[in-house]
């Protein structure tokens, strides 16, 4: 008796390679993550009311066109302490007379130059937001990554609770100023 004839499966690998090549060429790994910011209203919309902000309630961070960092007037080459400095500034609550009155009044002012690289801009912004998220997470009793997770989906009541508990009394006041035109 003859064995049942089988379909030759020698070309299975070829078909698989073709499909694989197609998918490699036409797809991309999606990236839907990043640093979230709320921009201020457009420049003309605001009446030019000069609100007097005390020196002590402002934490000045500046970056020039060569990506050098100036924090509160002093050059800073190593950024590892910057996050802690910002946190200390925000939750000072009047203790140090040179630092902020309260978290509601504390403003982190971030000024760059038109020639500053985006990479450096993101690096410092990451540290500033890190300081705020760390404070929120601590206040809500969760980890930093859990807080950010909760912030990304406020439809869930548990998340909303964590978000509100964390943000209570500490608004994220980061003023990203119009970049200066000094550099090349």
């Amino acid at each position: 008796m003859r064995t049942t004839p089988e379909i030759p499966s020698a070309s299975m690998a070829d078909i698989a390679f073709l499909l694989l090549t197609f998918f490699l060429m036409t797809t991309t790994i999606a990236n839907d993550r990043g640093l979230m910011i709320q921009l201020p209203p457009p420049p003309e919309a605001q009446p030019d009311v000069e609100v007097k902000i005390q020196e002590r309630n402002m934490f000045k961070i500046q970056v020039n066109s060569s990506d050098n960092l100036l924090v509160e007037g002093n050059p800073m080459a190593d950024v590892s302490d910057l996050k802690d400095d910002i946190k200390k500034f925000i939750i000072n609550r009047g203790v140090d007379p040179a630092s902020s009155d309260s978290p509601e009044k504390a403003i982190v002012s971030y000024k760059t130059d038109r020639g500053t690289s985006h990479k450096r801009f993101i690096e410092i912004l990451d540290i500033i937001q890190g300081a705020y998220y760390d404070l929120y997470a601590e206040q809500a009793g969760v980890t930093n990554s859990r807080f950010r997770e909760a912030a990304s989906d406020l439809s869930d009541p548990t998340n909303k609770q964590i978000w509100e508990k964390g943000k209570n009394g500490i608004p994220m006041q980061v003023s990203i100023a119009e970049p200066t035109k000094i550099g090349n």
């Binding site: 797809t27 921009l39 457009p42």
Partner: protein, 157 residues
């Protein structure tokens, strides 16, 4: 030792019968973890790293802007440009582009539009700030600076 009969076969080949299985596994991996590319990238994109990443809520409420040096510098020069939906646009066209994106959404959802800025690490702050100013004028103020996960050894998780 002298009991071998006849010739000994000298060529042993590695069995390749499991090759299709391996390739199919790779294929399924790519099918599951990627999505079909919707726009062709005309600019260089080395996205910077960051640790404080937030995730976008709903894909339908996101509009993408790509900023960076053009890929073909002979044709477009080497100044950073802004790309939206497969074409380069000028800063002044952004307001129009935003209103077109908003028109595609339901009335109630227009205020929730998030603009995802996918900016090359080497792009300068100048052009990005111009884009931001136009977005403020167009009332698209929710911005996400795209960034890749950075492992941050210095902070608590």
């Amino acid at each position: 030792m002298g009991k071998f009969k006849g010739k000994v076969k000298l060529n042993q080949s590695i069995p390749t019968s499991s090759m299709p299985d391996v390739v199919f596994m790779l294929l399924f991996f790519f099918m599951v973890t990627t999505e079909l590319r919707k726009t062709s990238l005309l600019v260089q994109q080395h996205i910077p790293n960051a640790s404080q990443l937030r995730k976008l809520q709903r894909k339908s409420l996101v509009a993408n802007l790509y900023i960076g040096e053009p890929r073909s510098t002979e044709q477009f020069g080497n100044e950073a440009k802004v790309q939206a939906d497969d074409v380069f646009i000028e800063s002044k066209d952004i307001i129009l582009w935003v209103s077109r994106q908003k028109d595609m959404l339901a009335e109630a959802e227009r205020e929730q539009l998030t603009v995802s800025l996918k900016v090359d690490g080497e792009a300068k702050r100048g052009i990005i700030a111009d884009v931001e100013t136009e977005l403020r004028k167009a009332n698209a103020r929710k911005i996400l600076y795209a960034a890749l996960e950075k492992s941050d050894p210095g902070s608590k998780p």
